[in-house]
Symmetry: C2
DNA sequence: CAGTGTAAATAAACGCCGTTTATTTCTAAG
DNA sequence: CTTAGAAATAAACGGCGTTTATTTACACTG
C-alpha cells in the first residue's frame, strides 16, 4: 500500500529518476560542481525541499549519480567486449578501449564526475565506490591474463624487471584481490590505463585537437601502437 | 603618488599577493571549485568587498591564480632543464618529466586548476591562457627536435605513417605555430604527454597506488620505458 | 460516503555565497 | 589644518543547501 500511495503524486521511483536526469542536465550545463538542488527544482517546476523526499541530501543524489555513471561505463565496456568475444585479442582490446573513450566523450559530465575533480563539499562513501570503480576494467584484466597465458602477448624488455617499491606493492595487491598474473602485466595495465586516460583527459579539455586534430584517430593510433608494442594481434 | 597612497593601509601589491596566497590555501582545503571570496576575507580578517579593491571579481582572481600556476609550472620545468642542459638526452627528458610530476604532486590544487575540471561560473580568457599553456612544453619540443636531428631518437615503426586525419591537422598546426619537425614527432610528444598526464591524474586521485604502490617509481619507470622505445639515451 | 492516515509538496526561515552601493576611515599631499 | 582620494566597511540583493512546520491530496477503512 505504501507503494500504491507512493504512486499517487510524486510517482515514486519515476520522480527520483527524473531528478537524476535533470541533475545530469544541470551538471552538463554548469559543470559537476555547478550542481544545485534549487536549480534542479526550478527546472522541474517544483520546490527544492521536495527533492528531500527522494534523496536525503545533495550528497546522496551525487552518490546515486556516481553509481549510475560507473555502472553505465561498465555496461558500455562489457557490451563492447561481448560483441567481439570470439575475435582476435587485438580486436577485443581495441573494442574495450574504444568503448571506454566513446563513453567518456559522449558522457563527459559523468566521466568527470567519477574521474575528475571532486565536488567541493562531497565525500564519497569508499566502501561503495571501490568495487564499482573496479568493474569497468575486469574485462581488460582477464583479456590481458588470458592473452598472456596463450603466449600471444609478449612483455616488452622495459617491463621485464621492476623496481622493488613496485614489486612489493603489487604482491600485496595480488594477495588482497586474489588475482594472479605476472607483476609486469599489472604494470602494463596501469601504463595502458594511464595512456588511455591521459589521452581522453587531454582531448576533453581541448589540449589535443589543436595539434593532432581528431581525438578518435589519435586514440585509435595510440591503442594500436600499444598493442604492437606487446605483440598483440 | 598613487603608489605612495597605495602603500598606506592595504599595502598595495603585497595585499593582492596575500589574497592569492589565502585563495590557494582555500582551494587546497575545499577544492578548486570551493573557492569563495567571503572565505578568503574571513581568513584574512577583512570583509569580502575589500577584495574588490584588488581584483574586480572572483573570476579575475581565478585568472590571476591560473597565470601564476602556469608560470610556476613553466619555471619548474625550465629550471630542471637548465640544471641538466649538458647531459645526455635521456637525463634531460627525465629531468623535465620529473619536474612536471613533482610540481603537480606538490601543487595539486594549482595543477587541477589548470588541467582539471573548470570552475563552474568561470570562463578563461583564451587569448591570455593559450601562450601560457604552451610555455611549460617548449623545452620538451626543442629537446625532441634536436635529439631527432642528432640522430639519437628513432621514430618507432608504429609512428612511421599516420592516418590522414592527423597529418592534415598537424600540417595546419605547424603552419600556424612556425615549428618544424616530423609529424611523427608531434604525435610522439602528444603520446608522451598523455602518458605522463594520465599517470599523474591517476596518482592524484589514488587510482594508481592500490596497485603499484609508489607513484614516483611507476612514473620513472614509464618515462624510462618511453625513452627506451625511442632509443633515447 | 465520510473519516483518517500518510506520503509528498510547500512556505518560511537560517546562514552561507558573489556582488553592488553608499558610507566611513585614514593617510598623504598642499 | 585642510582636503583629496584610496581603502575599508555596512547594508542590501538574489541565490545557494538545508531544516522545520504546515498544507495538500490521495488511498484505505468503517
Amino acid at each position: 500500500m505504501a507503494r500504491a500511495v507512493r504512486a499517487a503524486r510524486g510517482n515514486g521511483a519515476a520522480t527520483a529518476n527524473q531528478i537524476k536526469v535533470t541533475a545530469r542536465a544541470q551538471m552538463a550545463a554548469h559543470g559537476t560542481a555547478g550542481l544545485s538542488l534549487r536549480g534542479i527544482a526550478r527546472a522541474m517546476a517544483i520546490t527544492a525541499p521536495a527533492i528531500y523526499n527522494y534523496f536525503p541530501s545533495l550528497d546522496d543524489l551525487i552518490t546515486a549519480l556516481i553509481i549510475d555513471a560507473f555502472t553505465s561505463l561498465a555496461e558500455a565496456t562489457e557490451a563492447a567486449e561481448a560483441a567481439v568475444r570470439n575475435q582476435p585479442p587485438f580486436d577485443r582490446m581495441m573494442a574495450i578501449c574504444l568503448a571506454y573513450r566513446q563513453w567518456a566523450i559522449s558522457h563527459p559530465t559523468d566521466f568527470l564526475l567519477i574521474y575528475g575533480n571532486p565536488i567541493p563539499g562531497y565525500q564519497a562513501p569508499e566502501e561503495l565506490t571501490i568495487p564499482l570503480a573496479r568493474r569497468p576494467f575486469l574485462g581488460l584484466f582477464h583479456l590481458f591474463a588470458s592473452t598472456f597465458e596463450a603466449g600471444t602477448l609478449q612483455i616488452p624488455p622495459s617491463y621485464q624487471d621492476l623496481p622493488d617499491e613496485m614489486s612489493t606493492a603489487i604482491a600485496a595487491w595480488k594477495r588482497s584481490s586474489a588475482i594472479e598474473m605476472p607483476d609486469a602485466l599489472v604494470v602494463l595495465l596501469m601504463s595502458g590505463w594511464a595512456r588511455v586516460h591521459g589521452a581522453i583527459m587531454l582531448e576533453m579539455f581541448h589540449h589535443l585537437q589543436p595539434l593532432v586534430g581528431d581525438g578518435e584517430a589519435f586514440f585509435v593510433h595510440e591503442v594500436t601502437a600499444f598493442a604492437a608494442q606487446l605483440g598483440v594481434r
